[in-house]
Structure formats: structure tokens, C-alpha cells
Point group: C2
């Protein structure tokens, strides 16, 4: 496999990106291309004392920043690391693209440069979501690629998420749940009601509606929702978790007895915090475009970059894009019939 | 004030409802009417050793259950505690109605029996939401009265929530925030973008968009969102909080050192849990209908019932319904102009 990495995207680029690539290179034999400012990347490779030829530098002299408007940036910054990297995928010079850059630009770029898979109306961002009861994490689709979704988009999310989990995570017959405001099929908006029926009539292992309180409890493998709801779920989960851990930290400093107890439980509580650590799980795949693209968190450090590469690799190796293409032929007919 | 209570609504009716009413009666001089099965209510009043005449029983011989379809129940169960109670408000025999019964039926009943305030397109359920940084709680509108909202509904929620907080909680110039997937005004769905402009052009103290991660941080007094999103936010917050507290409890039992530490921090952690205790804050007002209606949690116990009555009382005393009516005359013109 030829892994292409956006060397200039993210808060800690190129330093942490290069470090993560070097760390990943120790575990795999695949070629790694880091796209971006050659001097800056070379410098960081030297800092890492990297001397092999498994990692190569691909020059790109522009950078898409977080403040850039996605569509404009893709059209105008042709020599940016993000556009150059996606073009390598398109031209068959790479098999997977990984970036911690501007999320909107990465999604728009994937759609414009790689193109949508035939039959997919809206590509989606699939984010890893923890199971707070201690089980394996699940996949939340859409995490914010679109802000509005039609019922057929929700069906597509369920389908793509299922295939990804089966092929990349090796989990059989993934359970698909639809985020809704009640468990009954009669509940929800006109869109969730229609999506419920489409999911129920599909070949997916659809377990029905999932209420907000069950989202963190690992009740399904693929959590399907529109991108607005997905964005709120991810950020709210982060906000509530961090707020509680902060309150606990403060409470455990409030008097001598609590401080002593706090010292004794410290390692246990840090362990818990790690369970919600997105860095370990790898990046978020962009699903529905004609090539394996992985979005890393903007603040990704070495460890997150390494995880994103290693855990994302089966997205390319298992030909997940081709499998989605095949499945969509059947589903497209099914959607037409509906 | 004449407070009317649904004696038969909720998981622990009539026992806990009656206990809560008796507890509230000790703190206020207002008349309390408990509507429902006279024998069952009388029996519970005897259990509470209540002998005064501040609390009176109003007979109603039907009960709307959680499984009843709201519209059908309101139309058919004319002698239910919920319908009889709402009719007392309508006929001027009561000044406030409090119920822990079927939420959908209470909202539909309020709309059909009391009627909407002129200019209000959609009544809303306003739920109390904790500030997890330790500050005063805020109000989330809509918590699920409607599953879909237009931009003008979101403006109405902001307006009604502001008035409620100002008059009932005595908080000046409440800050209004709009739940959205990004902070910038260009972000979101077509509806949130339109609502952003309407809120910005209104007389409200609009602070802009609020992302999921900031919702639990007390950044505003009124959190405005559609009822679908509101329902997900409330239930997800509950799910994440409870899951974390459960994980902590388990972690603190895992070995001898952690158990000792756990014993020392136990009271601190229980204290934290209380901060998220909805029972203490009182019930959720139904806003936008022509009478003060308060929804209590279905599993309300004595303490929750007492809080809902005491904390909800200013909703009636301060003539909040009349103030919303007046304000809506101006806003209705403003909405027409838009």
C-alpha cells in the first residue's frame, strides 16, 4: 500500500505529523508519502533521526488553513498539500489519504477531486464513538459532513458504516441504530420516520431507534444520524465528559480527606479518561467518495497520527470503496423502488 | 394562588404526588387542589397524617397512561385527572397546573384546552439544564414538544425562555444561545441560519451560536434548539453522566488501594451527582399556551413534586403568560416584516 499523508494539515503540522508517520513506519512495510513543504518535512525527519527510504517527501507549496473557505480553497490552492495528496489518490499514485487539516476542505476536496461513489447522494464523515459501558467503540455516521440529510442519506450512512465496520474492524453483522427522540417507530421527524422504514426494509441488521441516553451505551455498532445531530452528539459528549472529570478533580482537592482519597484513586481515574481517548482509536473515514480518505483530529499528536495510519490501513487493503460501490448498485435500485 | 395538581400522573402516583403536595403546603399559604381518584388520594393524605383544608380533592375517574396516544386521550378521556385539571385552569378555577403524566398528552391538552398564545406558532417544553461548571442552571427550549421547528419557532423559544427566566428565576437580561454545529453565523442548516438572523435582529440578548461542547458549560441562560435536538441533548447528557459515574464506581472497587481511596472520596462524588439532580430544580414549564402548566419528570418523588410546585409558583404569580402575550404582539409584527 502507498499511504499519502497531508504533512501540513492540523494544529501541530508538520512536526507531529512527521513523528506519527515515522512511528507508523516502524510497524508496517508500506510506503509512506508526506506531502508538503519539503524543507520543513525534511527538517523534522532529521529531528526524528529518520534515514530510511520507506518515507518519501512529495512537494506542495501551499497550505489550506482552518480559516479557509472549503470550496474556494480547493479551487484556488492547487498546490496545497491537501489538493496534491488527493490528486495522488485520484491518479493512482497513492492508495489512502490521511489528513488532520480543514475538515470542510477535506470533504469538499474528496468529493470534487475523487468524486462520489455512484448512487451515493451524500458522502459522510464517520467518527469513532466510545462505548461508555466498557465495550468496543462504535461508528457514528454522519459526524458533520452535511448539516441536513434526507431519509435516503440516512440509509446510505447505515450501509457504508456497516461495510466499514465489517471490513476494517472485522466485526460481523454490525447492528445499525437510528438516533431518534423515542424508541417507537412512530416517533421523530418526517425524515427519521421515513428512514426507519427504509432501514427496516433493507438488508442491514437494523435494531431500530436509539435514544440519546442509549447512544453512549454501546447498544449498536453503527449510530446513524444527520450531520447536525452527529456534530452535537460528539461535541456534547466531549463537553459533558470533560466537565465531569474537571468537577471530580476539583472535588478531590477540596479537603485533606478527599486529597488523600484522590491520590489513591488517581491512576484509576486517569485510566477511565483514556477510555474516552479518541487518539487511540484512529481517524474518521470519509465514506462515499471514490478513495479511502481518513480525517484525523485537528490537534492530532504523534500517537493519533500513528493510530490513524495503522487502524485506517484496512480501509485501503480491504477494498472497502469497491465493496461500497458494488453494494450501492443494489441499493440504488432499492431506493428508486421506494 | 390556586395550584392544581394531577394526582394520577407519573410512575409513583398518587402516593408521591400527594406526599409532595403535603410537603409544599407546609411552605406556602396557597390553596392546592389534587385531581384524581378521591379514595386513593384521601387514603394517601391520611398516610401523610394531613388534616388541614389547604389541600382539597377534585374528583376525576379516568387516568391517561404513558401508553395512551396524546390526541386520542385528550379527546376521549374527558374525566381524566389531566383533562379535568386543565379545564379548571381554563375556567378560572385554578391558577397553575402541575403534572407528572404523559408528556405528549400534557402538551397536546394544554394546546387544545387552554389554547396557544396569539402569535405563538408552536408551544414548547422548557427543561432545566445544569451548568456543569458549577454555576446556576439554564433553560433548554424546546425539550421535545415539537420534533421539527421553523426559524420563527426558534425565535419564539428564545423569547419565551427569556421572559420565563427573568420573571420566574429573577435573572436579568438572560443570555440566549442557539445550538449549532459551529460558532460562525454562516454555519448550520438553512433553519438555524435563518433563526440566527432573526435572533440577532430581535431585542433579545442573543450571544450567537453555541456548540455541543459548550452546552454544559453555562455559557448562556436560554439554550434554543428544535425539539429533536433538545430531546437528544437532554437524554445524551443523562446517558453520558450516568455512564461515567458508573464507571467511576466500578473503578473504585477494583482493588484494595482504589477501594480505600473510594471510601475517602465517596461523599464528594455523591455531592457531585447531586449537582446534576433535576429533582431539585423543579419542573419544566410548557411555554406558549394560555396558562401556567408545569411538567414534572415521570418518575418524580415527593421532593421533585415539592420543588416543582414551589419553584414553579412564580410562573403564575408573576403573570408570565400575560407578559408573553404582550411581547408577542410586537414580535408578531416583527416576524411578519421579516
Amino acid at each position: 500500500m502507498r499511504i499519502v499523508i497531508d504533512g501540513m494539515g492540523g494544529d501541530h503540522a508538520p512536526e507531529e505529523i512527521v513523528k506519527g508517520a515515522v512511528a507508523a513506519a516502524r510497524d508496517i512495510g508500506d510506503e509512506i508519502f508526506i506531502v508538503g513543504d519539503p524543507a520543513a518535512i525534511r527538517k523534522q525527519l532529521d529531528v526524528c533521526k529518520y534515514e530510511g527510504n520507506q518515507i518519501q517527501i512529495v512537494p506542495a507549496h501551499e497550505v489550506i488553513t482552518m480559516r479557509d473557505s472549503p470550496v474556494k480553497a480547493i479551487r484556488q490552492k492547487k498546490d496545497s498539500s491537501l489538493v496534491v495528496g488527493l490528486n495522488m489518490l485520484k491518479n493512482g499514485e497513492g492508495d489512502m489519504f490521511v489528513s488532520a487539516g480543514n475538515t470542510g476542505a477535506l470533504i469538499v476536496g474528496s468529493r470534487l477531486i475523487l468524486g462520489r461513489i455512484k448512487g451515493i447522494d451524500r458522502p459522510a464523515l464517520a467518527s469513532i464513538y466510545p462505548d461508555m459501558t466498557g465495550g468496543d467503540p462504535c461508528l457514528l455516521v454522519d459526524a458533520g459532513a452535511s448539516s441536513e440529510s434526507k431519509a435516503r442519506n440516512l440509509l446510505e450512512y447505515g450501509l457504508m458504516g456497516s461495510i466499514y465496520i465489517e471490513k476494517v474492524w472485522g466485526r460481523d453483522n454490525p447492528r445499525v441504530g437510528l438516533v431518534n427522540l423515542g424508541a417507537e417507530e412512530s416517533k421523530g421527524t418526517s425524515i427519521t420516520k421515513e428512514a426507519y422504514q427504509m432501514l427496516m426494509n433493507s438488508q442491514l441488521n437494523f435494531i431500530g431507534n436509539v435514544e440519546g441516553r442509549d447512544v453512549p451505551k454501546g447498544v449498536c455498532d453503527v449510530i446513524v444520524c444527520d450531520g447536525f445531530t452527529g456534530n452535537v452528539i460528539l461535541k456534547l459528549t466531549e463537553g459533558v465528559s470533560l466537565s465531569i472529570f474537571k468537577l471530580i478533580k476539583e472535588a478531590l482537592k477540596s479537603n485533606a480527606k478527599a486529597m488523600l482519597g484522590g491520590a489513591l484513586v488517581k491512576s484509576k481515574l486517569s485510566g477511565l479518561k483514556d477510555e474516552f481517548d479518541y487518539e487511540e482509536y484512529g481517524g474518521a473515514p470519509v465514506l462515499g467518495v471514490s478513495g479511502p480518505v481518513i480525517k484525523m483530529h485537528g490537534s492530532s499528536t504523534e500517537r493519533a497520527v500513528r493510530s490513524a495510519i495503522l487502524r485506517g490501513l484496512p480501509y485501503a487493503e480491504e477494498n472497502v470503496v469497491d465493496i461500497i460501490k458494488e453494494e450501492m448498485q443494489d441499493v440504488a435500485e432499492f431506493i428508486e423502488e421506494e
